[in-house]
Amino acid sequence: MIKSADVVVIGGGSIGCSAAYNLARLGFKNVAVLEKGYICRGSTGRCAAGIRQQWGTEMNCLISRQSIRCFEVMNEMLEYDGDVEFIQNGYLMVTYSEKEAAMLSENLKLHKKLGIPVQLLSIDDVKEIVPVINTDRIIASTICMEDGQANPFKVTDAYYRAAERLGVNFYTYTEVTGFKMQDKKITAVVTDRGEIATDTVVNATGPYAKLISKMIGHELPVEPERHQIVVTEPLDPFLKPLVMNFFHNSYCQQVVNGSILVGYGNPTEPKGLNYDCSWQFIEELAAKVIDQFPVMKNVNIIRHWSGHYGISPDGQPVMGTVPGIEGYYLALGCGKGFMLSPMIGELIAQCVAGKETTLPIDILNVERFNKGELIIEPAVV
């Protein structure tokens, strides 16, 4: 392992790899990425692969809008010899109540202002786009055809290989165990395989971010929330957009190989890291799925797993410096890390380099939680 680095990125998921690539691109010659397992072990490798712009806060919309521009050209941008499988089949948002419908129409105004092409749909439109959907209780629905999906493993692999070509050192199976500090300044990262001297650390560990912060002496209010997902046997294409249902709190989409991915997180569950799969989840999920798509009663579930969102108090990412600790940066997507990873990586690299950031990330600084300046994201499941 190298003895010292200009920047140490902790976390080998989509954000960590994107941050490392962007740091190297901005001219940092000596960047190290530390990953306690293998690339994509954590939340990126467990996510449902959706990518959307239909958010309710301006920052979430802007970061996702710019990220989609990156996904559109990603294979070329990263000179990837494979395919990141980015497909723009849309996100269909479905509501069963007047209150949620009002939220969608509020969001629609924001999307219009920011130039995000979202349409309000009639029930007939919904039926036409997804013939198998049960429209009985739908009050309002919107779609953005620029939204879609990409393969999280391939996206991360593309960033990882591009970063490696630019000279970034990756250390997998290397766990951070602590930090060396001098007067609130970081001087080294300690791992189970040795130490790296550095004055700059980027925390891109998603649901583990709180634990890393604790080692530095910082209280971070980002909590792991377990989500579980099942995947079905592959089927002929019948579900074009990802269907997000605010009543059922669920997301459901057909991926490239024909399998359906469907999942949700139970917001009342105690927060914490928990990789178990529960039978209760499958039972509740089956009812949610059959209510939305009655034909799915005949479809086989073949696999069930769990992963985590890192939930911030307002549902927006946490990015930038940490007041009081010199050289410590946070790069956390907070429940949407994969889909925002192209821009979070770019913005945090600009921030570390002391350049002006392409988007105004100051409002996403962790200090907002102490000052009470929360801007709540309403459109989350």
Partner: protein, 91 residues
Amino acid sequence: MSDKTIICRCEDLTVEEIREWISKGCDGFEEIKRATRIGMGACQGRTCRRHLIAELAHANQKSPAEIDLSTFRPPTKPLKFGAVAGVDQDD
């Protein structure tokens, strides 16, 4: 085995493709599973697991017993949503 021998029938993967990913640095079961979906199909690795272990053992110059397996996921066999929800399914 010829290079074109299919070792994962669910995801239609040949020995050649697996060896290519191993040579690109995906030399553990979990890594290669993520890159190719090997073992994640309908049979859940019942056919390909032993073949992949043999390939990984060979590539890493280890004995098959030293190769870490990927996580075994529920359900043990494919299960219909309707069966879980207790509603009638069409045959």
